[in-house]
Amino acid sequence: MTWQLFVFMMINGLSQGMLLFIIASGLSLVFGVLRVINFAHGSIYMIGAFLAYSLSTILSGQSLIGFLILLMVVPPVIAILGLALEVTLFRRVYREEHLLQLLLTYALVLILDDLVRVIWGGEPRSVARPELLAGSVDIFGMALPSYNVFILVVGPMIAIGLWLLLYRTRTGNIIRAAVSFPDTLGALGVNVSWVMTSTFMLGCWLAGFGGVLTAGLSNIDLGIGMQTIIECFAVVVIGGLGSVGGALLGSLIIGTGLTFFQLPFGRWALVFPYALMALVLIIRPWGFFGKPER
């Protein structure tokens, strides 16, 4: 392997990983605060991707502005969808047993996926990349796909933004306190149910953002929700459910691993995330950054 190929694959793998991180961090964050594993996270992400497609046909053209508008409009819309889901459905099951939570979120997968089928049909769609991001950029004499480089720039921005929010603001303190003792937080005068709603909205915002980025990266179809939620599970199992730092590590390992294993193993590379997930479950069931359940 030449070093050019190595860098090329690294860029590719890291950008895949970053995209996965944006989506998986939402799943992990929501689990940390709400203690509900949201199976429908992938479906919500898929709605974001298809919404980006629809909006892009209206906006027309391949301007960078148009694409930035997608990134600014779609995630908040998905967050509002999250608001509706949390208030009407999710908050009823926080204190219920896991099986009931599982049933609810799985039912949502079926409903939302069929909703996408009804609205957008079964054909693959895609969002045309803006010209500026459609070509390639020269770095060290190599032509790297500029869209991947773009994801590599945006991904860390999201990661840093999330970190600043969680570790450098009072809101972040409150979110992390809710992870440990929601009742105590409530007795201190914090409206915990609103904290949960907003965290869920943030998780959906991240899913929507990932959806827009995906729509520009590759074809989107009815399968991406399921495919992504499974990859997200691998990510959070490896990194530790509830840990955003763990989601970052897990995403980057899976993104780069998938890319590099594809060269020698072809399709068999798809086994890698699950093999790694199984390994982590055997050695350290709570993941690299997670904590054993109290």
Binding site: N173, I174, R176, S180, L188, V190, N191, V192
Partner: protein, 233 residues
């Protein structure tokens, strides 16, 4: 009357814990709720706070009926709760734990982080330590300080002396005296009789979910029968 609990009955699931419990706390008083483990002290406080709402009866605070109100609303009206098991947020630093307790102050005594640090210099030294890495005494300090950050009019202290070394318990007593001097009303729950009698104005004795005695500390000191029967003194 700052707090008035009127004949509340509280359940955990199907088990009946509090039976027609009534008590009053006047503004500026330190009132202690004495009783054995499992007598219903914590449940009484949780009922006031709305964490375990009573099935019947009323809780009146400052003229407002707060029975069954969500805990965060109760807190915003000016009641601070210091749980027995402390519940320090383990992943947050000491400073962040305090920060979470801040409320837009409505109480008379507005606490600031500077005043807290003045009062508990140890917390200032530990400001950047994770809450999970504190000793028992430090945690107790922090959990009280965190509740004070909300500048409550009434503070519910649930068994604060439990598990603390005698020297720290003494500091806690001085601190309760200080709160009283500052005009904060205190409802204390305790098993440590000597400690409670020293720092309170009035006492209630609760046993098996019933209030068995109420009176001033001076009266209780005289009443050997009650002391022998419920307090094992």
């Amino acid at each position: 009357m700052l707090l008035e609990v009127q004949a509340i009955n509280t359940f955990y699931g199907l088990s009946h814990i509090l039976f027609d419990v009534s008590l009053q706390v006047d503004r500026g008083e330190v009132v202690v709720l004495l009783g054995r483990n499992g007598a219903g002290k914590t449940t009484t406080m949780r009922s006031v706070m709305g964490l375990t709402p009573p099935k019947s009866g009323k809780v009146i605070f400052n003229g407002n009926d707060i029975t069954g109100m969500a805990p965060y609303k109760v807190a915003r009206l000016g009641i601070g709760f210091v749980p027995e098991d402390r519940r320090i947020f383990p992943d947050l630093t000491v400073k962040a734990n305090l920060d979470v307790g801040v409320r837009k102050s409505k109480g008379k005594t507005a606490w600031t982080i500077e005043r807290i640090y003045q009062l508990f210099p140890r917390l200032k030294e530990l400001a950047n330590r994770r809450g999970g890495n504190l000793s028992g005494g430090e945690q107790q300090m922090l959990t009280i300080a965190r509740t004070l950050m909300g500048s409550p009019d009434l503070i519910l202290l649930d068994e604060p002396s439990e598990g603390l070394a005698p020297i720290i318990v003494k500091g806690l007593g001085d601190f309760i005296d200080l709160l009283k001097k500052e005009g904060t009303t205190v409802l204390l729950s305790e098993q440590n009789v000597k400690f409670s009698l020293k720092h309170s104005d009035r006492a209630y004795i609760v046993d098996n979910g019933h209030i068995k005695y109420e009176g001033t500390i001076a009266d209780l000191e005289q009443n050997d029968d009650v002391k022998k029967r419920y307090l094992a003194v």
